[in-house]
């Protein structure tokens, strides 16, 4: 997909673990792992909002667009 999820970068910057973030955001670790590995097909605004709040960042810090990326 041309949209790249940089969640792992932000998590490393904030020094937060997957379980901790999952607890803060209110989603399961499995779902967060799907999002982190880029397997997710879509992200709800509510999830994005919770992620931005937990990581204290902007949506653009988590998501970015790469030209020429593989489309599903």
């Amino acid at each position: 997909m041309a949209i790249v999820v940089n969640l792992d970068v932000m998590m490393a910057k904030r020094k937060i673990s997957l379980g901790e973030l999952a607890d803060k955001v209110g989603i399961t670790q499995a779902n967060l792992s799907i999002l982190k590995t880029g397997k997710a097909k879509a992200v709800r605004f509510s999830t994005l909002e919770a992620l931005c709040e937990a990581l204290d960042c902007q949506p653009s810090d988590i998501l970015s667009y790469e030209k020429g990326g593989q489309n599903d």
Binding site: N31, L35, A40, K41, V43, T47
Partner: protein, 231 residues
């Protein structure tokens, strides 16, 4: 991933499963026994000859009087204008009539035997198709009853069920057509025209319906996958 289903849906699936299991075990045998009973001439509508030196060839066709269009009764015994052989005409349980020619064993033994072999092979192939269809149907219903609906395997099963049903339908249509064409080439009846009996396209339409359902299930599975991967 399993889908939440209602109790009514589960009960319906269970009833369907029991009914299809019963049908699957009984129907193919009833189908086969009916076929052999008819081909041996045991049915009340067919006449069987006692003379072992004669062969009866039966064709299920529709006869239309060409001379007197208002005639309601069809003669029961007549002659084949082509060969001069005796021909028997009997009504069938459904629409149309059966016409039977009586031939000497020595004349037609090998041809008759090959016809019989082709008949038996085609019946066995259809028998296998019906069994496979029911097995797939039972697997599908079992899968539904454990709430596994939007699954790629189910979509594949439906696709094969549709293809099998269309094959069965084609066989059901092709058999009477072949019968009439064969009868036309071998029998000419004075005052009658041999035509096609009512052809049944229900199985083909049913098969197409299953294929449409498969397409809907395939789309639904794809939507469900997207939904499951929405975080």
């Amino acid at each position: 991933m399993k889908t939440k289903t209602t109790l009514t849906f589960k009960i319906l699936c269970s009833i369907l499963l029991i009914a299809s299991l019963t049908y699957c075990f009984c129907y193919p045998f009833v189908y086969l026994s009916n076929y052999f009973e008819i081909s041996r001439g045991h049915s009340g509508l067919f006449v069987c000859t006692d003379n072992s030196k004669e062969i009866i060839q039966t064709y299920c066709v529709q006869l239309i009087p060409t001379t007197d269009s208002t005639a309601t009764k069809i003669v029961t015994d007549t002659q084949n204008s082509l060969t001069g052989e005796k021909v028997r005409i009997r009504p069938t349980e459904e629409e149309g009539v059966t016409i039977q020619t009586i031939k000497k064993v020595s004349d037609t033994n090998s041809a008759h035997l090959s016809d019989e072999i082709i008949d038996i092979i085609s019946i066995l192939v259809v028998f296998v198709l019906i069994i496979t269809f029911f097995i797939l149907f039972i697997k599908l219903i079992r899968s539904f009853s454990i709430s596994l609906i939007f699954d790629k395997t189910n979509s594949r099963r439906l696709l094969w069920m549709g293809i099998l049903m269309i094959c069965i339908g084609i066989w059901e249509v092709a058999t009477p057509i072949y019968n009439v064409l064969k009868a036309r080439s071998e029998i000419v009846l004075e005052g009658y025209e041999i035509t096609f009996p009512m052809l049944h396209f229900e199985s083909i339409l049913f098969g197409m319906g299953i294929l449409v359902m498969n397409e809907i299930l395939r789309l639904a599975t794809s939507i469900k996958e997207d939904q499951d991967l929405t975080i």
